[in-house]
Each structure stands twice: as C-alpha cells, then as structure tokens.
Amino acid sequence: MKEILMRSSKKEFLEICKNKHILFDANVFIFGFGHYKEFEELCNFLIQAKCVLACFSLVEFEFLRTAHEPKNKEKRENLLKEFREISFIVDDARDDMIKIANAYTARRITGASAVDCCIATLLKKHNQQVILATLNHKDFPTFLFDRIFIYPIDTDKDIFTLAFYRFNVEKAKKIKIM
C-alpha cells in the first residue's frame, strides 16, 4: 500500500481518487485558459473517476487577480462556480500553517508562498478526502506529501507535467509537525 501511495498506476489512482475532492491549484486554472481542450480532458478524466472538482477561496483569489477587465473577471467567476468550494478557516489552521511554513523553511524551500502553505494546511486537515492537482511540484515536497500520480499533458508546442499530491500523516509525524 505504501508503494501505491508513493506513485500509483492509472488504475490504482482512479481507485484512490474515487469520490475524493480534487483541489485545483491556481496554476492549473491558468494553464486551462491557454489549453482549454486539454483542461476539458483533465476534468473529464477526473469526473469519470467520480472525483469532485474543487477549489478554495485563496486559489480563486490567485486566479481572479490576473483578470483586468470586468468581462474577463466575470467569466472566471462563472467558471469557478462549476467547482465545489472548500471552506478555509484561518483561525482553525493557524498553528498548522506556522508548523508547515517552518518545516519548509528548515528544508530551504523558499519559493513556497503563503497561499501554498494554506493549501498544504488544507490538505493536512482533509488528508483522507482532498487531493491536490498542481503543475508546481517544488512547493509540495515529498518529505510531507505523496506524489500519487503524474498526468502528462502533451500539447502541440510543449509537454506539461501535472501531478496529484496527498498529505502523508506518517511523514508529518516523522518530522514532528503532527
């Protein structure tokens, strides 16, 4: 089972993520408007696996802030309405956020933003139910997360590597943040 959690085959991943919330990172949404067909395929892949497509307020903030004109912002808001929102209550998560930020800093992971630490905290809180989909791999290190599946996206000009991450409680205990 440990091996499956570290890196799973497509069949194993589909079993793991069945009925789970897949939290889309902002970079996945940003990738999506440049590659809408590939984004649609990704959504279809996850829906067929009976996943719940999800986002949360800080990811929305990151996605909406790059729209300048009202029409663009409105379209983005309409898009996000198709995703299930995961609430995030900072008061509940404050201690976890500090512990995770400290663990990152101690391992010289300096590129992670405050929003990344919030996402990590959210994954810790819902470790049995929420899986992150992201294109940003450095900010979700394997000392704390399991990279459970890699989903390559081949476009005409480039190849993108999206991966799915789940918070690993045993790893968190090992580095004493739980």
Binding site: F33, E40, I47, V52, A67, R84, I86, K125, H126
Partner: protein, 54 residues
Amino acid sequence: MDTLDKTKKKPNIAKIGKLMKEIGELTKKEKQKGMISHERDFDEIFEERILRDL
C-alpha cells in the same frame, strides 16, 4: 468542523471548456493592450497581511 461541500452538484464540463476558451481570448486581448499583471504587488501585500494576522 467539516468544511467540505458534500452536495451532489455535477460540473458542466462543456461549459467549463467554453468559458476557458473565452477567458483565454479575453486574456490574450488584455495582453495585446499592454495590460500588465501586478501579481508580485498582490503577493507581497497579501503575504504581509497573512503574516500580520498570524
């Protein structure tokens, strides 16, 4: 407190694809008009606020 939405609402994938396409076109036009993203400014302000709250 359980903060996960357990409702049975299913996303409309065709609508998602259509909106993404439109967002891509609008964003491209914004870039052509020279509208510059101030992401870094937002990041700094936002993180300052989070750190202050912590």
